[in-house]
Symmetry: C4
Subunit: 447 residues, 4 copies
């Protein structure tokens, strides 16, 4: 019982039935209570990031831009685009209608600002929308001798190496000249390729009439060519009522097989914080969270010093390190995000007719949210560490540890069979069924 | 065998293999028979509340008001409402068509009463329909400095505190003046809020033409504003053929994100009783049921007096008390319902152009039906108490009681993992997938 | 070993390890072979009754009459009938179009007989189609005093007792006068009632124009009244290519709740036999089958005489008796069917403009087919009797017989809980969800 | 330890704990490594055959020819064909539109070759499309005496024996004269028959206008008769971008029951190889694969010579033989395919207006791909042979081998019950439900 002060405070993994049992139980219980307070703070902070409004904002936006409206039927909607002519019909019809809401539905005078577009009357269109395409060069694939009489040109599937970066068409504007990708912008993983973030781009003017003329001009001058492999339509909105940005990306891929494949990303994110009282409450939770993290870091460092390499042998300690690392990353990203939004907004306020690239910010925000969600999941798992003094609780873990060897052997056998089935599915059903069209889909479908 | 008179008559839970076994078995069998008679009476009373006609009434009503009719195509149906303009189109088109059936389908003279509307020729529209909206005040949320140049107004999501109760528009009728909620009316739990039962309300005149004019007048005078968060359309019908009321509520929410979310409640309830011979048979069952309940109350009181605190240690006794409590509540509600319907009907008979609020009655009736259904479920479970003299029957319960400790330990572990998964689902999929859009939905989906 | 001649030849149920083991095994094997030959004969006979053409005939017929044709759009199809006006639209539009195919699709002269209708050019319409309605009397339910000012009439749900059999309308033809049901015609089990086979009926003339005029005349004279509860449309076709009758019944119920519920029965049956060579092969199988049955009957009678009451204690013997009984019934029905078809056809050949009631024949044929199918299933099960000399084969049955007591106890508990859940589902979800709309549906859904 | 040289190098199935354990382990490990290299080569070769582009090519082609286009609505699409008139509508409308893409979507001058059709601008139509029908003779079935007054003609379901090969109509071209089947062409397994590959055939001219005139001429001259049982539309395209052939067959069956059943086959196959660098890499893998196969053949022959009949008692050896046989077949088919394509292409280059029959090649290619896929699956399974020195790995196989007897007994019982259920399902649900419409479907559905 004398060695009690020496037992590590955060390393209790196995139930020790010692003479100091009762004292130890008290220590563990105190630790459990402290950990639960930390967990509640963490949950408050993370749950403050999402709200049900995000779902509804995504929902109404996808209804407006992706589904066919019964009221004004253009004969086409986004998901029924099948070739380039359909794309122009969509862009000049449903897209422009969805972007331009310049007056209130009745005869009443509009209470909204001049020269701005409020989608559904509540979502301010930030700046203007951007259209961007990526092309591949001619002769990026070789034609078999038999067919050289019939087809002279050959445009391969999209690949960064095959990308066409040379000027084309009228050669006198950004829509005919290649613009390089920004370093931070994420590439887009489409159905038929992994697309870079550069390309031939233009913005749609604020006025609906001007936009339609611009689109018609580009259509007639052949902006979409046989080499075009993908077109992106990007725009962002801000809803002041619920303090949410909605970043929308509509993607039409024109694969080398002909036809068109559509996809879309609609992200509702909370990029601005600290407006309402609830936000300030969250801010105080965040400060408490930072304090907890500092305490944890000190505690872990003391333990590492004391236990040296033995520290890294316990799985709980790895979990502690992971939580600390994720927390530091989270704090860092929060600071960066606040700065980036501020810069973008200032740029937007100075010049109205530019496209503000919130997409890369939304992309990282979503990734960050998912990372945090996984961390909170592991933080929940850590409760097991503290309840392991109970006998029932340890049954599961001890059972698992004893049959680990057999499970490994079984896992090897399982994965051989699993891969065998996956390749069978890919080879046999791959060309016919969407679930088996790539090897990754295949493994997912079989799993 | 001498302590037989002391054994409680309704507290036999464990098989006692005593010298008085045979005598006891007889007692138990007699009790079982009495209990089965009670159960049959109870089933007759509860099954008398519902009928297959309820399902068909709900079905034909939802087809008429929610689905698009192929015959008269207005280009809009209830479920495709996406903004306020669509709402007016629905109200002036399918809604008015559905409410007004003033003549028989052929050229034959109508056998129906003048100045009344019989939906599907069989369902009398009770009084008139009511339309009601709830609004939120301007500036109930704060706009971030960046956006104050673009948007001056800010209407938050609906919350009772943010509700706008001030007059607006023409300020000269109930449609422009706030009416407070009645105390008993239930609030409505919509997708984007929990709505009070007050609001700005108006009724639709009996004549289709007048209704259309009124709706057009309100549309042009801007009855729906940017602050409008929800509109309710309420009406009730009575079908004399099957003696059923049908209470219909169509709800269009206009969330702070823009767009519209539709939902509906269609309740077919039997509010009037004792018309047909079958009803009188049910009435006699109800009297038998009351007698049973009185007997039970006396029995239980005797036992409580005899056993004192020991009485509350057996789970069967708690079940007895629950059944008695629910039964008394049920009898009370029946008396109240009969009186409330009578009052509403008298009011309606004196003045035809009012909206009779059957919705709150239907709401409580449905809640009451569900409560009764759960009680009958427990009453079925009580049979196990009487069949426990059989050895096979007790195996299950004894197995359960022995592993109770381990099950509790497992339950704790299960719920930690369950909550961890639920929060993971909410944070990761919440903004995209409807099943995960609220934390409750999330837990339900994972469960 | 001396009592071998006394062992029953068809009653071997338990493996007897006796000195006469080998001899017995041989007997059993010989019996098995004989039984397998019988089974093959039986399978040939039953499989000769059905063919894949039946499925395709049902499929093309249901497409023609139930689904909306894209070519000629009448704005209505059978399944979207919602009220009486819709019914007339369907009858005067898609129904008449489906029934009348008087010329070949091109300009070529028709090779088909004058004055007949060949649906899809291959299915001869037998006689004419019949339309039949059932009504209920006025005042078959009582109106609550409150509502007697609003509605004078009350037509209850359909019940045989409430049926209206008095003349109505013009009172001068079978469409206005009640015709009683034929004794053999099956009643129709609809969604909202169990309908008798009598009613007010009329036939549609062969000419499309005359049919349309007749339907219009009936519509304008109010043939469908508020008391109408169901309308049946019946007709039959014969396909000479595949020698199949197709009997079609379209049902529109007008429940007391208002609105309409549609259902249909399309039966393809082989009522005529012995045309092709394959049919003659089947006929020889049928003769073989009859001989087998005669042998079996004699065998069983001998055994009954020998064993007396002990015979009825073995479950295999009951199976034998069942098979014999079903076989005799089958032979009898075959003779009756042949005679009935012959009578109907002769009647039809003498007068073309009558409706030949093949529906009752098809109904019994389908019932008979199902009965035979179940019998063949049991005949398959009987193989187990002969393979029970193998040890492995008896494991299953001996396991089952030992735990029979516990299974019974469990079954009682299971059914109490099952019924408790079923009533819960019926009371709570009954009025809203179709799967729970009747107690039978409920039990099925929970099962 | 002395008998080590005698142990077969590829026949180790059971873990032998002998004095030579370590040496043997080494041998086995070396064999495992060699086998893994072989497996990787095999995977590279087989995965080189398929690509995600195949799926997209199938997808866009089926969208174009099978689904209704929203842009140009002909009121009919392939899957809604219900009778012969619909077939002509489809052929003259959506089919011709899908086949003819003679100019670029905008006003820009076409960069494509004159007089060729590029579907979706990227898929060269190879030669012309072919339409082919199969008929049955009149009086191939007998009409029952009752009906001989109504119908004179009787055309049975399609069967090779009943096929009508005589000239008909104008009798002056391949469309009116029977052409026999080529020997290698596969028969088509349709819903209502197994169709030969001959028939009455014609090709559609390159020009859209001429095609329409030809189709109209045939329609008016009654090319489709009552005896017509199936029509095939066949054509092939080549996509130079992704080096894939797409072979399309649209099938409309007109069963003897009347009506029409549609089906289709769209095969994307890689018939030409060795164009890109990746192809050359695959070619080197193929050479490595051939070398491996030669080594294997030698190894197996040595073993067979050594072990004689004992060789055939091990299941692993059978697997080896299977792999070797399939590999030889694969190499042979590759050589044949290359030659066949070359011949077809040369024929096509010399005369443009013929129909090149790639269908039979695609059919065999797909069969070959599936065979290879199954072989690779078994090749994966063979890894177990090498990992059987591990104790855990052998548990599964030893468990299986011990209970083989009982499993066999159970299997017999299972199949009796399985067949009993299958026939029950076929007899009872066969005429109504598609899943049970044939006995094979039935067994599949029950399984």
């Amino acid at each position: 019982c004398l060695n009690l002060p020496l037992t590590p405070s955060l390393g209790v993994t196995e139930p020790r039935i010692s003479c100091s049992g009762e004292l130890e139980l008290k220590t563990t219980l105190r630790e459990l209570v402290v950990y639960l307070i930390f967990l509640i703070t963490l949950c408050l902070v993370t749950f403050g990031m999402v709200s049900t409004n995000m779902y509804y904002l995504n929902e109404v936006m996808s209804r407006l831009f992706l589904e066919r409206s019964s009221a004004e039927d253009h004969g086409i909607d986004f998901e029924s685009i099948r070739n380039m002519a359909d794309f122009w019909k969509f862009a000049e019809g449903p897209l422009l209608d969805g972007l331009s809401w310049d007056k209130w539905y009745g005869n009443t005078t509009s209470a909204l600002q001049e020269n701005t577009s409020h989608i559904y009357y509540e979502n301010l269109l930030l700046g203007v929308a951007q259209v961007r395409q990526l092309k591949v060069r001619n002769n990026t694939c070789s034609i078999y001798p038999y067919f050289q009489n019939f087809t002279k040109d050959c445009y391969s599937t999209y690949h960064y190496i095959a990308e066409d970066k040379s000027d084309f068409g009228l050669k006198n504007g950004s829509e005919w000249k290649y613009t390089s990708a920004r370093s931070l912008s994420p590439w887009y993983w489409g159905a038929a390729g992994f697309y870079s973030s550069g390309g031939f781009m233009f913005t749609l003017p604020k006025s609906k009439e001007e936009s339609r003329e611009k689109l018609e001009f580009l259509r007639q001058n052949g902006w979409l060519t046989r080499g075009t492999r993908v077109v992106f339509i990007d725009f962002s909105t801000y809803n002041a009522n619920v303090n949410l940005f909605c970043i929308i990306r509509l993607v039409v891929e024109f694969p080398a097989t002909g036809g068109a494949i559509t996809s879309s990303r609609i992200y509702s994110v909370k990029l601005l914080r600290y407006i309402s009282f609830y936000d300030y409450f969250l801010a105080s939770c965040e400060i408490a969270f930072c304090l907890f993290i500092v305490t944890f870091i000190i505690q872990e460092m003391i333990e590492i010093k004391k236990l040296k390499m033995a520290y890294f042998r316990t799985v709980w300690n790895w979990l502690d390190l992971l939580l600390v690392a994720v927390s530091i990353l989270a704090i860092g990203f929060n600071i960066y995000r606040t700065m980036a939004v501020s810069l973008l907004m200032e740029k937007l306020l100075s010049a109205e007719n530019i496209y503000p690239d919130f997409y890369f910010l939304a992309f990282w925000q979503i990734l960050y949210d998912n990372m945090i969600a996984v961390s909170v999941f592991f933080a929940f798992m850590k409760i097991f560490k503290y309840v392991s003094f109970n006998k029932t609780m340890t049954q599961l873990s001890s059972t698992l540890s004893r049959c680990a060897g057999n499970i490994c052997g079984f896992a090897v056998m399982f994965f051989i069979i699993f891969f065998a089935y996956a390749q069978l599915g890919y080879l046999v059903f791959g060309p016919q069924v969407e679930d088996f069209s790539t090897f990754l889909n295949c493994m997912y479908a079989i799993f």
